[in-house]
Symmetry: C2
Subunit: 216 residues, 2 copies
C-alpha cells in the first residue's frame, strides 16, 4: 500500500486537507482519483447490512489508496483524523502506462493493497481479542518507529475506530486494554496512547512466540 514515490511525482497532482470525520469517497461510487496520505490517518471501510461498520485498512502517511479501475469503489474512505492528502486524477493512470516503470509502480500500489488486506484477514479471523489488539499495536509501533520513541505509541484514530477495525465491541476493546496492562506489562496512558515494554524488540519476538503458542 505504501506508495512508489518515483512515478507518482511525475503525475499531475495537488494537495487537499480534510478535517476529522470527512468522507473522501463513498462505497459504490465511480472512482475519479486516487490518493496518498501525507499526514493524519484515513480509514477504508464498508457498511454492513446490520448498520455496523467494518474498517478494513488504516492508511498512514506514505500509504496510497484508491487505485481502482473498472470497479466501483469497493469501500468508502473517511478521514480518521485531520489529514493532508495528495490527490491524483484517475486519468493519470492511463498516461502512466506509457512510461517505462509506470505500470509496475501502479500495479504495485494495487497489489500492496491486496497484501494489506490479506494480512488483515489473517489477523482478524480466529484470533482472540487479546491477540488482535497486540497485533494492531505491533503494526502501529512499526509504522511509527516506536523503538526510537521509547516504546510510546500514539494512535491517531479513536477507540471506536480501533474496535471497528479489529471487529470487536468497544467495550471488549476497553477490557482487552486493561487485560494487556496486567498480563503483558503494557502501560495505557490514555485512550489513544500506550507505552509498550521498555524494549520493543522483546515485544516483537514475544508476540510471535506467544501468538504461536495459541490461546490456552
Amino acid at each position: 500500500m505504501t506508495g512508489d514515490g518515483a512515478i507518482l511525482d511525475r503525475l499531475h497532482h495537488w494537495r487537499v486537507t480534510t478535517p476529522k470525520g470527512r468522507m473522501i469517497y463513498d462505497e459504490g461510487e465511480t472512482p475519479s482519483g486516487f490518493y496518498r496520505v501525507e499526514t493524519g490517518c484515513v480509514r477504508l471501510q464498508v457498511l454492513r447490512e446490520d448498520g455496523r461498520r467494518q474498517i478494513l485498512v488504516f492508511c498512514l502517511p506514505g500509504d496510497v489508496f484508491g487505485v481502482e479501475l473498472d470497479t466501483l469503489r469497493p469501500m468508502a474512505a473517511e478521514a480518521a483524523a485531520r489529514s493532508e492528502l495528495t490527490r491524483y486524477p484517475m486519468a493519470a493512470i492511463r498516461n502512466a502506462g506509457m512510461e517505462p516503470g509506470g505500470v509496475a509502480g501502479l500495479i504495485g500500489a494495487a497489489s500492496s493493497m491486496v497484501s494489506a488486506l490479506s494480512t488483515r484477514l489473517k489477523g482478524l479471523a480466529h484470533a482472540s481479542a487479546e491477540d488482535r489488539l497486540m497485533w494492531f499495536l505491533d503494526w502501529l509501533a512499526r509504522r511509527q518507529n516506536a523503538d526510537r520513541l521509547g516504546g510510546l505509541v500514539h494512535a491517531p484514530m479513536s477507540r471506536r475506530d480501533v474496535a471497528d477495525f479489529l471487529g470487536m465491541a468497544p467495550e471488549t476493546l476497553s477490557r482487552t486494554y486493561a487485560s494487556l496492562e496486567r498480563s503483558r506489562g503494557i502501560l495505557v496512558i490514555d485512550a489513544q496512547t500506550v507505552q509498550l515494554r521498555p524494549s520493543l524488540s522483546s515485544l516483537k519476538s514475544g508476540l510471535a512466540l506467544e501468538v504461536g503458542a495459541g490461546p490456552k
Copy 2:
C-alpha cells in the same frame, strides 16, 4: 477478480492442469506468473501462527489471481479441486503496459481482487455463523447461476475448506447446515451439495432482509 479476456488473449500463455490439493505457489515466494482459472477451484490462503489455515478467496472459472508486482506472494494458492489453469509469465505485464488498454486491464484484475477481499472482510467480521454460511451459499449460487438449475448448488471444495474460509470450526459448520435446514428450508443433499429454496430470488431478497434484521 474476474479476468479481462481481451487483453489476456494477446499475452503469452499456456495451459496447466493440477490435481486436487497441489500447491500452485506459496506464501512469501517471489511471483513469477499469474493465472486464470478455467475449470475447478483454487483457494488463496494464509497460514496463521497457531497453525490454522485461513482461506481468503475461492477462485472459480473465469477468475484471475496472482497479479502481484513488487510484493512477495501475500498468500499461497492451492487447488481445492482438480483444476485447469492458464498461466501467464509475470514478464508479460511489463510488455502489456505498452499496449493501449493493457494497464487498465491488469490494474483492473488487481483491483477486483481488492474488491473481493473487501466483500470477504465485510462478510466475515461480526456476523453469526448462520449469516456467514448464507452469504457463502448465496455467493456460490450466483456464480453458478443456480436459478437455472432449480436452486441446486454444488460446492467444488471440501467442507473443511468452507469452514476455513468462513473462519469457523468444521463442527460449527456442520451444525449450522443442520440449523439452516430447519430454519430456512434449505435442503442438504450431501456434504458438497445443497438445494436452495424453490425460487432463488426469494432467497436473495430474503437474505438481505434477514441479515438486515440482524441477530436477535
